[in-house]
Structures are given as C-alpha cells and as structure tokens.
C-alpha cells in the first residue's frame, strides 16, 4: 500500500492531462453551444474555425518571433492570440455575410444551415491547408515545465514524479479567464443580456427591439474567439495539425450535447465529463493499482479498459448514453 505514490501517479497521468484537455474541450463546446443557442444550428465548421484561428495565430507568432518579440517565459502565441482571433473573426463574419445571412432571411430549416456549414467547413479546411500546410507544427516556446518529474521527486522524496507543463497551467488559467469574461458578458452587459433573450425566445426578443443582426455578429465573434483560444491552447499543449482539429469536432459536440445544447454552463461541465472519461478509460491503470494493492496481488496486465485509439468511442458512448436517457443534457438544453 502506497497511497501517496498512487495519488501522484494518478495526478500525473490522469488528472492534470484530463484537466487541461477538459478546459480545451469546454472552450470549444462553449463556442459551439453559443452558435447553437443563438443561430439555432449545429455548426460543423466549428472545428475548422478552430484550425483556421490557430493557423492565423501561428503565423502571427512566427512574425513576432522573427522580429524578436517573445513573451519571455510564456509562449509567444499568447501575444499573437488576439491577432489570431481578429483575423479568424474577419473570416467568420465574412462567411456570415456571404453565406449564412441569406438562409436566415429566408428562414431556412436548421438542417439546411447545417448542410451549408458543411460547405463552409470544406472551404475553411482548404484555406487552412492553403495557408499553413498539412504538416504537424509545434509552436510552443517559453518555459516548458512549471515543475518536472525529477524536481518533484527530489522535492518530495517520492518514487513517482509529477510533471506539470507550463502549457497545462496556461490552458487552465486562460480557460478560466475566458469563461469568467464570457459569463460576465452574458450576465451583466446589455449586449450579453440581449443575446440570452434572443436565445430564450427569438420572437419576444425581436418585439422588444433587439437588433438580431448585432446579436448574430457578436455571437460569431465570441464563438470564434472561444474556438481560436481553444485551438491555440490545444496546439500549445499538443501540436497543431489541421486534420486533428477537424476530428476534435466529435468530442466538442459530444461535450455540448452532454451539457445540454445551448447551455454555456453545460458546455463547460460537458467538456470536463468527456475529457476525464476519455483519459480514465484509455489510461493503463497498472501502475496506480500496483501501488494500491499488496505486492502479490499486483496486476500483470495493463488494466487498460480501452486502447487510446478508441477515445472517439468514449466520447461517442457518453453521447449516446446521454441522448438515450437525458436528451436535454445535464443542464437542460434544447432537446428534440
């Protein structure tokens, strides 16, 4: 029995990565759920918005680095992030103007908008590849670790190390700040309130003189900002690859649906539910268990419920379970 070492192993391999991944998913799901709540369709271009915003941020990061501007011990991408958000917002607002607005005007059914978003997804995917290529890109600079496994071991004298990468801390802090800002905006500003009113009851909101085009515009900007932030944080934490971001669509949607489509609070909860389920189900628990049980009972297999390649299956399974038993999601979002 060695509870401390087991705990540290658990924190190192499950909790900390899960927390960072959950924060990234939560930001992504927040954007998707906002678009759903206000514009009333599932935006399949969301993953590629993330990719495009991140690609822009990477380009600005490179530009900054080439003229010698860095953020010291922080990644330069954090300085570039606002520029990335601005550039991505321009593209998304342009798309709204050219593509989506027409369908709002003719009051097209939501499934048409979904289909249109598939077209936008193709274009954004193409543009992203055009701009930055298809290769894997690492753009994290600055200090790599807040604490390395070795330092932790010498500090505590434990057998197991706990490594915390700076990107993980940055992810959690940035995500918390973004979420706080969003909730303040939705709860206390006039525009935010009109957005919520619009989401709750469109006709009533229009009657009370809310300008729908403004609400839609602000929604797109916020959703793009959240998507780009999520994308940059994910890219810093892991790496950037256009196709991976497209694939993030599934866990992001799963998080939004699990939380309840249209519910911001739900999106955050959903993000963490999905992330922790993915990590716990695909983690090999052998090491943790070896510390917890008497030596002669130590497991001789990996005690891995599912291979890491099945992480989609985990998000998917949770999605299906929620859809079957609680179609409105954990936080009472929209249902059928």
């Amino acid at each position: 029995m060695d509870i401390l070492n087991a705990l540290v192993t658990f924190l190192n391999f499950v909790f900390v990565p899960g927390l960072a991944y959950g924060a990234q998913l939560a930001l992504g799901a927040l954007g998707a759920t906002l678009v759903f709540g206000i514009l009333r369709f599932s935006n399949f271009a969301h993953g590629d918005t993330m990719a495009f915003g991140t690609a822009m941020t990477i380009l600005v990061t490179w530009g900054l680095q080439s003229v010698g501007i860095t953020a010291g011990f922080l990644p330069t991408a954090l300085i570039a992030l606002p520029f990335g958000i601005a550039l991505a917002s321009l593209l998304v607002l342009g798309t709204d103007r050219v593509v989506y607005r027409y369908y709002r005007k003719v009051k097209a059914p939501s499934v048409w908008l979904v289909m249109v978003s598939l077209g936008v997804m193709f274009i954004m995917n193409g543009v992203t590849r055009f701009v930055i290529g298809v290769d894997e890109i690492n753009f994290a600079d600055g200090v790599r670790f807040v604490i390395t496994a070795g330092e932790f071991r010498t500090m505590t004298g434990l057998q197991e190390g706990l490594a915390i990468r700076s990107t993980q801390v940055i992810t959690v802090v940035t995500a918390a700040a973004a979420v706080a800002a969003l909730f303040w905006f939705l709860g206390y500003t006039r525009t935010g309130k009109s957005m919520r009113a619009f989401s709750d009851n469109e006709d009533l909101a229009l009657l009370s003189g809310i300008n729908p085009e403004k609400v839609v515009m602000v929604t797109w900007i916020i959703a793009t900002a959240l998507a780009t932030t999520a994308g940059v944080l994910y890219g810093l934490d892991k790496s950037f690859k256009a196709f991976t971001y497209f694939q993030l669509l599934l866990p992001i949607f799963a998080a939004a649906v699990v939380g309840g489509l249209g519910s911001p609070l739900g999106a955050i909860a959903g993000g963490f539910v999905i992330a922790f389920s993915e990590v716990t189900v695909t983690y090999a628990w052998k090491k943790v268990l070896t510390y917890l049980v008497p030596a002669d009972m130590a497991p001789d297999t990996l005690v891995q419920l599912m291979g890491t390649d099945y992480k989609f299956a985990v998000s998917f399974a949770i999605l299906v379970i929620v859809l079957l038993f609680k179609p409105t999601g954990l936080f009472k979002g929209a249902s059928s």
């Binding site: 979904v114 997804m121 193709f122 497209f246 649906v257 297999t301 989609f312």
Partner: protein, 433 residues
C-alpha cells in the same frame, strides 16, 4: 418531354467531360475515373435515399463504406486455418458474450422498477459483462495475432468468390445502421448527424487497431478479383492477337480491358439499383416516404409509423453505401484502413447528392459522376492554373508555395460548389419531380 431532354443533355455533358479526358490524358485514366465515378454514384444513391426520400441527415457514410470493405476481407480473403483455430472461436464467443451482456443490461433497465437499484444493477451487469468479455477476448486475440504476424496474423476470410462480398458488405452496413437507427433516430436531426459521424470514426478506429480482424494498418493486400489479371491477359496468345487486331499493344489493351470489365460489373449494379429505387419511389411506399419527409406530423396523424419507416430507409440506404464500399475495396484489391477520410468518403458524397438534386435518383447518379470527375481533375487543373499564374514569378519560396498549394484546391472547390448550388439552385441539377 422537355425535362427528360434536359436531363439527357446534362448526362451528355458529363459523358463529354469523360471523353475529353480520354483524348487529352489517356483512356486508362478516364476508365479509372469512370469506375470510381460508378461507385460514387452508387454511394450517392444510398445517401439520396436517406436524405432525398426521408430527410435523414447521415454523415457517417465513411463507416458504412469501410464495413463494406471489411466484408470483402472476411468473405474472400484466403482461409487462415492456423490463426482461426488458435483463437477464432474464442473471439466469436467473446463477441457473443459482449452482445449478451449489453442485451442483459437493456433487459434489466426495462424490467426493473425505476430507482437507484436499477441504475446499480445495470452498471453491475455492464461491468461484469465487460470483465468476462475481456477475459475471453484478450487471450484469443493474442493467440490469433501471434501466428504469422508478418504475413497474416488475422482470422482470415472464408475464401469465397469476391462478388459474394458485395451483398455481405451491404448486410454488414445494414446491421450497423439498424443499431444506430434504433438509438439515434427519433432524436433531432443534428443528433443523428453527430451520432453517425461518431460511429464512422469508431468503425475506422476498430479497423485500424484490431489486427486480428483485418490486419489493422498493416493492410490486407492481394484480395481476389472478379475479373482477369492483366498479366494473365498479356500471356494469353488469343488476347495478344485480338489486341493486335485493334492496333493496341498488349500492355495498354490488358489494363483497358480489365477496367472495362470492372466498369461493366459496376454498371450492372448501378442500373439494377436505379431501377429498383425508381420503382420504389413511384410505389405507394415512395409516396408515403415523401409524405413523411414533407410533413412528419400529418403523416403520423394519417397512421404512418414514422420512426419505423425512418429506420427502414436508414437501413436500406446504408446497405447501398455498404455495397459500394465492398465494390471499392474489390476494385482496389486491398483494404487500407488508413485511407478512409471523412472528407472523401462522407462529405464528398453529400456534395454529389446536393449538386445532383436531392430526392432524384438520376440526379444522384449525375452528381456522382460529375463531382467525382471534378474531384479528380481539380488538382491537375489547379496545378496548371498555378503554373500559369506563377510563370512570370522568380523562382523562390512563394512560387513553390503557390504550386504546392494546388493540392488543396479540391476542398476549396468542393465547398464553393456546394455553397453555390445550395444558394442558387437548391433543388440541384436534376430536381425531384
């Protein structure tokens, strides 16, 4: 009779595109595009059935295509008796046990009264079932994969003729579609879309990782063919004489003939399907489906079982996609799970259906040929355009970059085509009657 003339003209235009490709590039290339165009048209028919007939939004075609491909391996690849004897029955037993525990969990959920006890019981059934499943499954898989891992290492196939695999592929896809439909149909349309997207990713993950099944990313190559091999034709004196009669060298002649054989087979499948689908659309069943699509509430009020009909059409449409998947793997002669990409196997098919005209079978076929041709040709055309654009530029990074970027033109073009058609001609090239 004006509309059929217009449709004929559209088909003639697409045919002309293929003919021009034949003269400009080569007939080999044209036939290659034609064969995949035929398969694409069949996939588009399946999607059109779900979307055009019933308004179901399925974006998991890739998964059904891959299941069709898997069927080819399971049906027609050679028997690996050593591998199978080592663990095949164990794997089957494990899969049955896994299915039984899921069924048991569902039964417990249905039969027990609401409350905490029910939740606990279901969880217990699932956990125990999973442990038993893994206990049987893991050693069997290890045993199968241990034997001859470089050459096979999988349970092998049945060694049956490859054409048999096509209906089997359809059946596999239909089975999967039934499971998905049972759970996700009846929910709002976006949910079905997300669920199907998820399933298709999972199918690909299974194909990539379960080496015992179809060798995973090690690929299964050398699958049997329903048509003669080029080398055999080239050795056949009769064929050489025949080719000489036509003034062709045996190399070109053999590869053209093989492709024509495939095209003939595919054409038969396509025509049979179009005929069947047209008959279905004209029948009372087809009218009922369209009634359901256009107004579910009133159809339900007329006593139609909407969910059941949806399930039916979802299963049938997926089966068609599965057949096409088996055909594509047969054409390739190999199963390469790494090449399944949702943009190519799901979303491109959607572009075909929308551009062709949702709800119209001939439209789906036309869209299949046209969009597939475009998908193949955009890259060389983009390269050509880029070379002209950059011809005046000095050699350098920008020029190299622009030429390289021609490769990404495909996605861009497809997106633009989809958006333009949806905006200005939402009923497609051949609208539904």
């Amino acid at each position: 009779m004006t509309i059929p003339m217009r449709n004929l003209a559209l088909f003639a235009v697409v045919a002309a595109l293929f003919v021009v490709t034949g003269f400009v590039q080569s007939w080999n290339v044209t036939l290659q595009i034609l064969n995949l165009g035929l398969v694409s048209a069949i996939m588009a028919l399946g999607v059109n059935m779900q979307w055009g007939y019933a308004g179901l939004f399925n974006i998991g075609m890739m998964g059904f295509v891959a299941l069709g491909g898997l069927a080819v391996v399971l049906v027609s690849s050679p028997v690996q008796s050593a591998n199978w004897n080592a663990g095949g029955p164990g794997i089957l037993l494990a899969l049955v046990l896994g299915a039984l525990s899921v069924i048991a969990a569902v039964l417990v959920w249905q039969k027990m009264p609401r409350g905490r006890a029910r939740g606990l019981a279901v969880a217990l059934v699932i956990v125990v079932g999973f442990l038993i499943y893994r206990a049987v499954f893991d050693p069997s898989v290890a045993a199968v994969e241990a034997i001859n891992p470089a050459g096979a290492g999988n349970i092998g196939g049945l060694g049956l003729p490859v054409l048999l695999a096509w209906p089997v592929g359809g059946a596999l896809a239909a089975g999967a579609a039934w499971l998905i439909g049972k759970t996700a149909l009846g929910l709002r349309s976006d949910y079905l879309a997300i669920a199907t997207l998820g399933i298709s990713e999972i199918v690909i993950a299974v194909l990539k990782n379960e080496d015992w099944l179809a060798r995973g990313v090690k690929n299964v190559t050398g699958l049997p063919r329903p048509v003669p091999y080029e080398v055999d034709l080239q050795r056949d004196p009769g064929f050489i004489a025949w080719a000489a009669d036509w003034g062709l060298d045996p190399m070109t002649a053999s590869s053209v003939v093989v492709k024509l054989c495939y095209a003939g087979l595919f054409m038969v499948v396509l025509l049979v399907l179009v005929w069947a689908l047209e008959m279905a659309l004209k029948s009372p069943w087809g009218r009922m489906m369209r009634a359901i699509r256009d107004n579910e509430v009133s159809a339900e009020a007329m006593g139609k079982d909407v969910t059941r009909r949806h399930l039916q059409v979802f299963v049938l449409g997926s089966a068609i996609v599965g057949i096409a998947g088996a055909m594509i793997t047969t054409l390739d002669g190999q199963l390469t799970p790494g090449t399944y990409n949702p943009l190519r196997f799901t979303f491109l098919i959607w572009v075909m259906v929308i551009v062709g005209g949702s709800g119209s079978n001939w439209g789906a076929v036309l869209g299949g040929f046209l969009i597939w041709w475009l998908w193949v040709m955009v890259e060389p055309m983009g390269l050509w355009v880029m070379e002209i654009v950059t011809s005046g530029m000095p050699e350098g990074a920008l020029k190299a970059r622009l030429i390289e970027s021609a490769a990404h033109m495909r996605l861009l073009t497809m997106g633009v085509v989809l958006l333009v058609v949806m905006r200005f001609s939402p009923r497609g090239l051949i609208p539904e009657k």
